[in-house]
Amino acid sequence: MLSRTAHELFWMARHIERAENTARILDVTYRMSLLPYDAVESGLAWAEPWAVPLISSGLATSFYKRYQTLSAENVLRYMILDANNDSSIQCCLWAARESARSVRGAITSEMYEDLNSSWLEMRGYDFEKIQAYGVSEFMDWVKMRSHLIRGVTFGTMLRDEAYHFIRLGTHLERADNTARILDVKYHILLPSAADVGGAVDYYQWGALLRSVSGFESYRKIYRDVITPRRVAELLILRDDMPRSLHSCMNLIQETLEKLCNGHSQEIQRATGELHARLHYGRTDDIIRYGLHEYLMDFLDRISALGDAIERDFFATGQAASPQ
């Protein structure tokens, strides 16, 4: 398929996934901010919950360039509606829809119509409307639109290259986002080791799990208190957890095998290596290495993989060497 088309589809998928993950983390933050933490455990300082979505998406600096104070309203405005923030939900849906529009022949009509109507509806929202509708309800709407588009993609699209590039974009973005969400805990003031298992920790880890739809799975698998070690295991190493790093890498590796071309050996190798680290990795080793360091390293590798995909799939055909 056309390199440009593949590129647009890949980014269409990434933007939809990013909008969904932003909605997830904002929803969790919003719920956390409603808890009377001081009453739960007085004397323990919490990081201001509204810093969390900014830190995890690496947007704190650019936020403070535009807003004086860290407040729920400012963060929500910035992360949902701000046209200057390329990762705001509105910008992501706009970018996804523009990508789809520029290659609409490569996707099914149903996909385009669902994405287009999502955008048209999004365009009708301002902050007041979101407040009136309910912040959590709005986040649910974003998640539902993302589920819908993914479902329509799954249910209607030919399993051709276009489909594989969409899947590649979705899972690369998801791997990145899950790693960022998991790393959030590092940035929140950590309670001392003695507090592990305490009420604050319970709420923080619980919220984190909920943001990746992992709370119920955790309960099912471990039937025990929430510990950082197990959360790390669940979200990094378990391949039956659909948003875990391992599960994302399984799909990335599988998809890349279908897409391989004459230029992609290095991508194949790097993906295989990263996948093997997750497939054969041990939780204890990760904890010993340092969870934060481990996740930073993973994010670097994912980002390098994204660059390699740009180079080896989307910039091909430039070299004029037809047979």
């Binding site: 398929m1 056309l2 390199s3 440009r4 088309t5 593949a6 523009e98 529009r101 520029s102 290659v103 609409r104 022949g105 009509s109 385009y112 119509e113 287009n116 109507s117 048209l120 290259e161 590039f165 897409l259 071309n261 004459g262 799939f313 989307f314 091909t316 055909g317 430039q318 004029a320 060497s321 037809p322």
Partner: protein, 470 residues
């Protein structure tokens, strides 16, 4: 000329014409609330599907719908069969004319078309002289604008042979009507049009420069910001071919390739929706960012087919239009089935004087104008506008033609006050390749403003579904 325009639905006596009877019956029986609800539904659906056009000069991202009217324009079978014959005949003659103009110019030698009408024509492309194109076909897709005037006679108003647009509206309007009012289709025999993309693809594949078993066809678009982008994407999708921009193609050894994820892939036929001037910066406008360097060389080398060919504008130009009936006689030895609108050529001094003396009764058009711009509609003009045109005509008489003001036929249309007559035209799409074909139908455009004769979407025009009865 009679004062009342021809009404498609009713006779002068107010009786419903036979071919509109089932529809008139239906609308009389259907509660207005249901119709209003269906009209809303249509608008929402058009927005969701994204059948919008970008309006130049407005805010970025501003997209508008071309208003859709649910009252169909209905063409009875006998009228269509005459239209079909006339349109095929006309497009055949126009293709023969193009082939002649770019080779021997026999028609000029015979004195039928003045040589300077060709040689001085800005649309004539000397680069095309002597070049052979597959099948001798230049205008693979022609959108011929037909109007109905006087007592109901069809006239050809304009031949569009460059990159005629609007066919996606013909198809989407039909889809919308079938979805909104299936009962209308169940009770009448309305001929289908949805196979247009298949015909187009078959036609394009048949024009491959090589006897390739499986030629690759692509649609070339200026990009997502072009006002007709929806249509380009729509046709590519319906035909199952790639939609490419200039940046997706490159030329090497006079061969055109697409840049794909698996390396270069050869392209044989390009259905291009980019104007001649912008196709190749090496051959035409050097500042074009939309084109493909080297494309023209590959074309001349016979390594790729462009549809439509380069330089077709010389045949749809308003200065050539008056000669089309004579072309039909010259190339086909037949009498034209469809008439032209009577046209005054202002390059002829006596006709020019007549026009200048009668501006308030005539429509004056710039020879190279399009889209309803550069036009004076005499009866609706002010004295100042006429003075302005008079000066422009005197300065450059051969830049203009004039025609009597046609009282275009009307069709009932939903307006704020309810159903009211509005002027319409019709653009059927004629496909030429190994055969000449057209689907039974076309795009009916309607001037939504009361009394207006301008049907162009950029100036308050809307569209209707066009039903050809079996």
């Amino acid at each position: 000329m009679s004062s009342l325009p021809y009404d498609e639905m009713r006779t002068d006596a107010g009786e419903v014409r036979a071919h509109y009877a089932p529809f008139a019956d239906w609308i009389a029986r259907t509660p207005p609330a249901r119709i209003a609800q269906k009209r809303d539904e249509a608008e929402r659906a058009f927005h969701r599907v994204g059948i919008t056009f970008a309006v130049y000069g407005e805010d970025l991202g501003e997209e508008r719908l071309i208003p859709f009217d649910i009252v169909p324009r209905i063409v009875p079978a006998d009228e269509w069969s005459k239209l079909e014959r006339g349109l095929k005949q006309r497009v055949q003659a126009l293709n023969a004319f193009l082939d002649d103009i770019y080779h021997a110019q026999a028609i000029c030698a015979a004195g039928v078309v003045p040589r300077e009408c060709v040689s001085d024509n800005a649309q004539y492309r000397p680069e095309m002289q002597g070049m052979k194109v597959p099948g001798g076909i230049y205008a693979h897709v022609a959108g011929v604008d037909v109007v109905r005037a006087g007592v109901g006679e069809y006239f050809v108003l304009e031949d569009n042979l460059r990159v005629p647009s609007g066919v996606s509206y013909m198809l989407e309007n039909r889809k919308m009507m079938m979805r909104l009012f299936p009962e209308l289709f169940a009770t009448q025999s309305i001929r289908p049009v949805q196979h247009y993309p298949d015909l187009l693809l078959e036609n394009l594949r048949g024009m491959s420069p090589l006897e390739e078993e499986d030629p690759t066809v692509a649609v070339l678009t200026p990009g997502a910001h072009n006002s007709a982008y929806f249509e380009h994407a729509f046709l590519a999708q319906q035909m199952g071919v790639e939609l490419v921009e200039g940046q997706d193609l490159f030329v090497q050894n006079d061969t055109v390739y697409m840049r794909t994820t698996r390396g270069p892939q050869r392209v044989h036929v390009i259905y291009r929706r980019v104007d001649d001037d912008f196709l190749d910066p090496l051959a035409f406008r050097p500042d074009s960012m939309l084109g493909v360097p080297g494309l023209f060389a590959a074309y001349r080398a016979g390594r790729v087919t462009l549809a439509n060919a380069i330089g077709t504008g010389v045949a749809d130009d308003k200065s050539i239009y008056p000669y089309v009936p004579d072309m039909i006689r010259f190339y086909l030895s037949e009498e034209p089935v469809l008439n032209n609108v009577h046209t005054y050529l202002l390059r002829r001094p006596d006709e020019c004087e007549y026009v200048l003396a009668n501006l308030e009764h005539l429509v004056v058009k710039e020879v190279h104008g399009a889209g309803g711009y550069g036009m004076l509609i005499g009866p609706a003009s002010t004295a100042a506008e006429r003075d302005d045109f008079r000066a422009r005509i005197r300065a450059k008489p051969d830049g203009y033609i004039a025609q009597p003001t046609l009282s275009l036929s009307t069709c009932p249309t939903f307006a704020a006050s309810g159903l009211a007559p509005r002027h319409i035209d019709l653009r059927p799409y004629v496909l030429s390749g190994k055969t000449v074909t057209l689907v039974p139908g076309g795009l009916t455009r309607v001037a939504l403003n009361e009394g207006s004769l301008v049907v162009n979407s950029s100036q308050g025009g809307g569209t209707k579904d066009t039903w050809v009865l079996a």
